[in-house]
């Protein structure tokens, strides 16, 4: 585990010293391969320690697995994506450095067991991904990066207040911030401290997750960055921040205050769905549409968490499904943007005519996102609806179904209007590189395969993760 954390730092130092593009690409590729091998290895060797601060259990292994998969796909993708850019050079070098630092901060957050370190890694992830968003340095992206860093820094400051309250609450036991200690002593902590701490943590880390109404930075930041960055932000960063909230939730759960947290989750989840639905009905920018869909899915996950233990399996499956399909959607949208040079939906027509393979991947990813079988989101939404009926939240069920239908309608009309129709005559000729689509096809394949056959290791991983929750 030491290597996983130290390697990005060493590699980025080397890249900073040598500033060679080929070396940068090679190092990122090496690291992503190492990452995925390490995660597969740790599937069979769960529960390892580094120091008391970093520990691997089933939940963190699960999140790490998704991150490793996405990092591999995105690294392969970005080798071919940045080929046609004009000022490749020093800028791309800095991009690779910040890219590795970003991955380091995310994996550090997942692995750490101390709230203080979690906070440090969260802040580091904001700071390192700001440059990634602002890679192209246009007006839209600079303003988006400014909004991102500002709102997320405020959010992280709120999370800090929550962590201080947790520390004050555990002062009788020495002011510990370790998750396991807090869970063990949760009953003895003053419940008011726990409640206030959770409220601040969900407000703060919810900013990074993208729960409405703290989502103001998400549409612009996810749509203005280059597509591999958007895929990573949507696919992993939101999950990572969600893990932070889940750790706090576990503490309150063992103190029997789960009902309070579930109310908060429900409020934020419904608000996210509402905001997302209100945009989707008339969207003009397909990358913003995908960003709002991230907000919606995070809202669905929050609602899943609010249903109590019956919803946990649905939440885990939904996290998997959302990350993989959102990543493939973003990467495909990058290909579309390279072909049509516009981000507006009206500017893209006749994808099926110009390039049937791209259209196939685009539509298939979209279908996987909205929940068609055999993709995982189908199962997760089914389980969610079953859990809602079981726990008697009928009104919630109706509102949920109406909002999701609206979102599917909005997204679907945009996606299909982009794919079919007469091809517009454009002057841009674009040579498709196979690398650009291989990743998405791989992800989609994985999702289909999971439905029918799951290796036993992954099966035990998921069930352990659920039991930890």
């Amino acid at each position: 585990m030491i290597l996983l954390l130290i390697l990005p730092l060493i590699f980025s130092a080397i890249m900073g010293i040598f500033r060679n593009i080929f070396l940068s690409k090679l190092l990122t590729l090496i690291f992503s391969f190492y990452f995925i091998f390490y995660v597969i290895y740790s599937l069979f060797h769960t529960s390892q320690h580094f120091t008391p601060y970093f520990e691997m259990n089933a939940l963190s292994c699960f999140f790490l697995f998704i991150e490793a998969l996405l990092v591999l796909v995105v690294t392969l993708y970005q080798l071919a994506y940045f080929k046609g850019e004009s000022n490749i050079g020093d800028r791309f070098n800095r991009y690779c450095i910040f890219y590795l630092l970003f991955i380091f901060s995310m994996s550090g957050f997942i692995l750490t067991t101390n709230f203080g370190f979690m906070w440090i890694f969260l802040e580091a992830s904001t700071l390192s991904s700001t440059f990634l968003v602002d890679y192209r340095s246009t007006k839209g992206s600079t303003i988006a990066a400014w909004r991102y860093v500002f709102i997320c820094t405020i959010g992280v400051a709120f999370a800090f207040i929550g962590i201080i309250m947790l520390s004050k609450g555990s002062a009788p036991f020495g002011g510990t911030l370790f998750v396991s200690d807090l869970i063990a002593h949760a009953q003895a902590i003053n419940p008011l401290y726990l409640k206030m701490a959770f409220a601040f943590i969900i407000l703060g880390m919810g900013t990074k997750v993208g729960l409405a109404p703290m989502h103001a930075w998400l549409p612009s930041a996810h749509s203005e960055g280059p597509s591999p960055v958007s895929a990573l932000l949507s696919g992993t960063l939101l999950n990572v921040a969600l893990l932070g909230i889940i750790q706090a939730y576990r503490i309150l759960e063992s103190a029997h205050l789960a009902a309070f947290c579930q109310d908060l989750f429900m409020i934020f989840g419904l608000l996210s769905l509402l905001f997302s639905a209100s945009y989707m009905l008339n969207c003009t920018n397909y990358k913003k549409m995908l960003a709002y869909s991230s907000i919606e899915n995070m809202g669905i996950i929050a609602i899943g968490l609010s249903l109590g233990p019956i919803g946990y399996l649905a939440v885990i499956i939904h996290i998997v499904g959302h990350s993989l399909s959102k990543a493939s959607l973003f990467l495909t949208s990058g290909v579309i943007e390279k072909m049509y040079h516009t981000k507006r939906i009206e500017g893209v027509k006749g994808l099926a005519v110009r390039s049937p393979l791209v259209a196939f991947v685009w539509i298939l990813s979209f279908l996987s996102l909205i929940g068609l079988p055999p993709f995982p989101i189908f199962f997760s939404e089914l389980l969610l609806i079953y859990a809602m009926i079981q726990s008697g939240h009928y009104i919630l069920l109706c509102v949920f179904i109406i909002l999701i239908t609206l979102i599917i309608y909005g997204m679907g009309s945009s996606v299909f209007s982009m794919s079919f129709g007469k091809a517009t005559h454009t002057k841009f000729i674009f040579k498709n590189s196979s690398l650009l689509l291989a990743g998405q096809l791989g992800l989609l394949l994985i999702m289909v395969v999971i439905a029918f056959y799951m290796p036993s290791a992954i099966h035990t991983l998921i069930s352990n993760a659920v039991s930890i929750l």
Binding site: E123, I143, A145
Partner: protein
């Protein structure tokens, strides 16, 4: 004596709301830094003298001197002087800020019954300052006003952590400071970039 200081700490934020110039907000931040230092000196008990002096000087130095200097540089280089423009009218803005200030008292009163071991006025005023800083961020149009609101919020968070944890443990204080600092530097970088490329209109995005 320290009650007076805590009250003044929150009152200067209110005063900063009334004045309409952006540079008066910087003076508010300077006053808050000095008051924080004084509160810290008057109220810390039990910790070794060296630690108190070190943290006190660090608070004074960074929050009352270095941060305002950086803010002044941002102000000068992005040429967004003069009025801090409101989105609401200044009358209702003042009303809301005053309500937030008074709610600090009510929070202090409510907390007094429920918690033990913390100073209630400090807690209430700290939360009130955080809310006022948040309101400053939400209700102003200029980017520099947003940054000022963030700094005021950070000052409130420092007071809050001080009231909850007694004296500041060194690690937390240094960690917060580093984060705060890097945040401000990054803000400066981006505001400068936005200004130099002409993406803003007199300081507003």
């Amino acid at each position: 004596m320290e009650n007076m200081l805590i009250l003044l700490f929150c009152l200067v934020t209110l005063v900063g709301e009334v004045k309409s110039r952006v540079s008066s907000h910087i003076k508010v931040i300077v006053w808050q830094g000095i008051l924080l230092f004084l509160i810290f000196i008057f109220d810390s008990t039990g910790a070794p003298i060296a630690s108190i002096i070190f943290i006190g000087i660090e608070v004074l130095l960074i929050r009352a001197i270095v941060i305002p200097i950086i803010l002044n540089r941002i102000l000068g280089s992005t040429e967004s002087h003069f009025e801090a423009e409101h989105k609401l009218s200044s009358f209702y803005s003042l009303l809301i800020m005053a309500l937030l200030f008074i709610s600090g008292f009510f929070i202090a009163y409510g907390v007094n019954k429920l918690f033990t071991g913390i100073s209630p006025l400090q807690f209430g005023m700290a939360i009130s300052t955080i809310l006022m800083g948040l309101y400053l961020i939400l209700s102003r149009k200029k980017m520099i006003s947003h940054i000022m609101g963030y700094v005021i919020m950070e000052n409130g968070i420092l007071l809050l952590s001080f009231s909850l944890l007694g004296d500041m443990p060194l690690l937390i204080s240094v960690g917060v400071l580093i984060d705060f600092f890097i945040g401000i530097l990054l803000f400066r970088y981006y505001t400068l970039k936005i200004f130099q490329n002409g993406y803003d209109k007199r300081g507003k995005i």
